[in-house]
Amino acid sequence: MAETKSRSKRLMTMGGLIFLAIGIILYFVKEPMGLNRKIYDLPVFLIIIGACSALKGYMAKEKTEEEAALAGKTFSEFLTNNAILLAMLVLVVVICILQPRFMQIRVALDILTQSSTKLIMALGICFTLLIAGTDLSAGRMVGLSAVVSASMMQTATYANRFFPDLPQVAVWMPIVIAILACMVFGALNGFLVAKYDMHPFIATLAVQVIIYGACSLYFDMPPNNSQPIGGIRPDFAQLGQMRLFNGVYRGFPGISILIPIAVVICIVIWFILNKTVFGKNVYAIGGNREAAVVAGINVFRNIMGIFILASCLYGVAGVLEAARTAGATNNYGNGYELDAIAACVVGGVSLNGGIGKVGGIIMGVLIFTIIQYGLQFINVSPMWQQVIKGVIIAVAVAIDLTKYRRK
């Protein structure tokens, strides 16, 4: 048993080192050999992948014999466990062959940037999924947060100001107000679910409609009268548009600020889920609500906490959307919740509650963005993209479920 374990470890380290070596060689020979237009940044990717894999293989924890026996992975099990990831790899390779321009750092960074807000939403919604619930109001909260924050962040000289007499407030203030507005509705969600034991589907559906109405009322206030909010202050827009390390070397596009923001939020959520009492209670309530009650967990307070925390993340996503696009309308965020739920589910979060990891959710969001971006890249029609997206959801979840149904 220990042999197979160390063999897979060695395989990973060796494979990683080989990738690393090929990457370094290619990096230095691509210019002289005139491969620049053929392989683009492939060497850099190979170096990164190689280094990560070698490091992981080297660092992998020695499992105890019993654990290794329980894991007892066969090749076919490996396939089912990673099917969607492998399918994505195949697709990426195909796209790279059809369109070598795909192999650029710029593309990878674009994908990560596009994933950022989606990821923040998915992390919020995963809390509600973990207690076997759902949150249909997520998308509308993004819209609310975008409208509220943008409405107070217009330049003084802009003709069509939402609040003509508003002074130039500090940037953090509208952000806090926007997020607080979302949290109020999050608390309403939580209250309906926790107090009346309402199914989250219905409770959040009701709140979704309320939010859209409230947001539209706000948006329709004179003098704005439902016109798209524009003239956003540059210091606010920077929050979504700033690029770090721009042009540190030739042709480097810079890293969008959205990426580090999403990374920080991922770490925070991972910490909450794995290292805090609240996180453990979320898994417990999702795993067996009755038993959680008996164990003395305050289910009411925890469910309130779940929906408020989730709405806070939607609020953040909304602010970032407003900043990124330097504008807002009351239709922002429409339907985002379904994308977020789909990404969570593809990432292995169980709709029956209690099962789900941050790593899986990141994977789920990335898979969707990569596939969408890749299909656009090779000019697949948007209608076909929709079909493919739907197929991915169905197939991914079907494969995921077979894991639990083994005889």
Binding site: E67, L70, T276, N281, V294, G296, G354
Partner: protein, 511 residues
């Protein structure tokens, strides 16, 4: 024609990391009741699941009436005349009894259900089994006993040749058990064979013809219950085969006596629900095990749940260590030093999809947290120590609790409450569905806690356990306390007499 109706030969089944069955044999004759015995985790359920097509065995053969049979699904098993009545029944609650009986094979033509035929057939079946149940009544409103009979009726209607009964009597009252046995006897005389899984020795000796014993996934042996000379097997013999060692005492010796100090005083406590417990009064002393006896429907569980803040209390007074205590919520009860091990382990006890670690510390998270952030290594150390102390058998703390046997799950749940360092442990059927060895361990844990100055309230429906462990027994009937019996003065008859004090009314409300 073979001598046996069913032969299972050298059945082997391996799960990742565990050999659940290792060359197990089971031979059942026509028209007999064959008891299948063994501790929890011995592989009885796995063997039956192999027979019923829920699991695919890795090796071995199954013969039905001498013919080799391959069974890949429950449907195929039923077509071949095998029926199974599971330990925990899950009827379709909001549909009628008759629809549950004919589920999956409704009588009718071209997809249109013939309700009248279904009603008549169900009625005829129930008459035959002497069941007084309206076929149109909702299944969710029926007692466990009725649901079980319903399943048996279903098996009879399907002309089952072999009926597997998994712990059929675990939630039945004595009277209901008698009825069940009557039905089994009648069907046996008609040639139906039963595989009977149970931990209750007395029942096994009363009802079965042959006994097969399993231990740790292996086959130990098969014996007729009474030999040609009419001598019966003894309980000690069977236990010895099951555990592989002599078990002289069913209960560990109790040392010391309860102190005079009253830790809990309950006075005239009434439920908010009309039909639940009324005017319950008692005192619990430090270092005392107070047993609560009674039949199904005596509202014992409801009472302790109310004490723990899970149900409403309308009136009455509770004094905890002399101070007024109002059972607001389980969290509050926990903070006041109460612990409740619930009756339904799976429904309200374990978090099946979480590892043992989380299951052990879940009621005690605050003690490992600073500003809501958990100290992981401390949790692990404590959970590990507690699980080791209680002898939980598991590969690691990361194993999902649903992969443990019932006895080990129960030990984890006890560990959970011991970690909270509660003063008063309320144990609701602490050893239900648990094997003999694990039972003894749990009794030992109880006595250890008593020795440390704690007090225990124990609900038990098993008379020997109630009388073997309690310092004092409080008997309830129909939500009322009907009497107290002190150690030394209780007999099975006295407890039963108190438990059926309102027997006249019992038939309409309970059952």
């Amino acid at each position: 024609m073979s001598e046996y109706l069913l032969e299972m030969k050298n059945i082997t089944k391996t799960f990742p990391g565990v050999k659940a069955l290792d060359n197990v044999n089971l031979n059942v004759r026509k028209g007999t009741v064959h008891a299948l015995m063994g501790e929890n985790g011995a592989g009885k359920s796995t063997l039956m699941k192999c027979l019923f097509g829920i699991y695919e065995p890795d090796g071995g053969e199954i013969y039905l009436e001498g013919q080799k049979a391959s069974i890949h699904s429950a449907r195929q098993a039923m077509d071949k005349g095998i029926a199974m009545v599971h330990q925990e029944l899950h009827p379709i609650r909001f549909r009628s009894v008759m629809e549950n009986v004919y589920l999956g094979r409704f009588p009718g033509h071209m997809g249109v259900v013939d309700h009248k035929a279904m009603y008549d057939k169900t009625k005829a079946l129930f008459d035959e089994l002497e069941l007084d149940v309206d076929p149109l009544a909702l299944a969710g409103e029926q007692s466990a006993a009725i649901l079980q009979m319903m399943e048996i009726a279903r098996a009879v209607d399907m002309k089952a040749k072999i009926i597997i009964l998994d712990e059929p009597t675990s939630s039945l009252s004595d009277r209901e058990v008698d009825h069940l046995f009557k039905i089994i006897n009648r069907l046996r005389s008609q040639g139906v064979a039963f595989v009977y899984i149970s931990h209750k020795m007395k029942e096994i000796l009363e009802i079965s013809d042959e006994i097969t014993v399993m231990r740790d996934g292996t086959y130990v042996g098969t014996w007729p219950v009474s030999n040609e000379k009419g001598e019966k097997l003894t309980i000690d013999f069977i236990i010895k085969q099951m555990v592989g060692r002599e078990m002289t005492n069913q209960f560990p010796a109790r040392e010391g006596k309860p102190s005079d100090e009253v830790v809990l005083k309950v006075e005239n406590v009434c439920s908010t629900a009309k039909k639940s417990f009324q005017n319950v009064s008692f005192e619990l002393h430090r270092q005392e095990i107070l047993g609560i006896g009674g039949l199904v429907g005596a509202q014992r569980t409801e009472f302790v749940e109310a004490l723990f803040g899970l149900r409403g209390i309308a009136s009455g007074e509770i004094l905890l260590n002399g101070a007024r205590y109002s059972a607001k919520s389980p969290g509050f009860a926990k903070s006041k030093g109460l612990a409740l091990l619930t009756e339904e382990r799976r429904a309200t006890g374990i978090f099946g999809i979480l590892p043992i670690l989380e299951n052990t510390v879940i009621a005690n998270q605050r003690n490992y947290a600073h500003l809501g952030i958990l100290n992981d290594s401390k949790r692990r150390v404590d959970a590990d120590a507690e699980c080791k102390k209680l002898n939980v058998k598991t590969p690691s703390l990361n194993t999902l609790i649903q992969n443990l046997s019932g006895g080990n799950q129960q030990k984890v749940l006890i560990a959970r409450w011991l970690l909270t360092n509660s003063d008063i442990l309320i144990l609701d059927e602490p050893t239900r569905g648990i094997d003999v060895g694990a039972k003894y361990e749990i009794y030992n844990i109880m006595l250890e806690q008593i020795a440390q100055g704690k007090s225990i309230i124990m609900i038990s429906s098993e008379m020997p356990e109630l009388m073997g462990m309690s310092d004092r027994i409080m008997v309830m009937c129909e939500g009322r306390v009907t009497g107290f019996l002190n150690k030394g003065e209780y007999t099975q008859e006295k407890v039963m007499a108190l438990a059926t004090q309102f027997a006249g009314r019992k038939d309409n409300t309970a059952a």
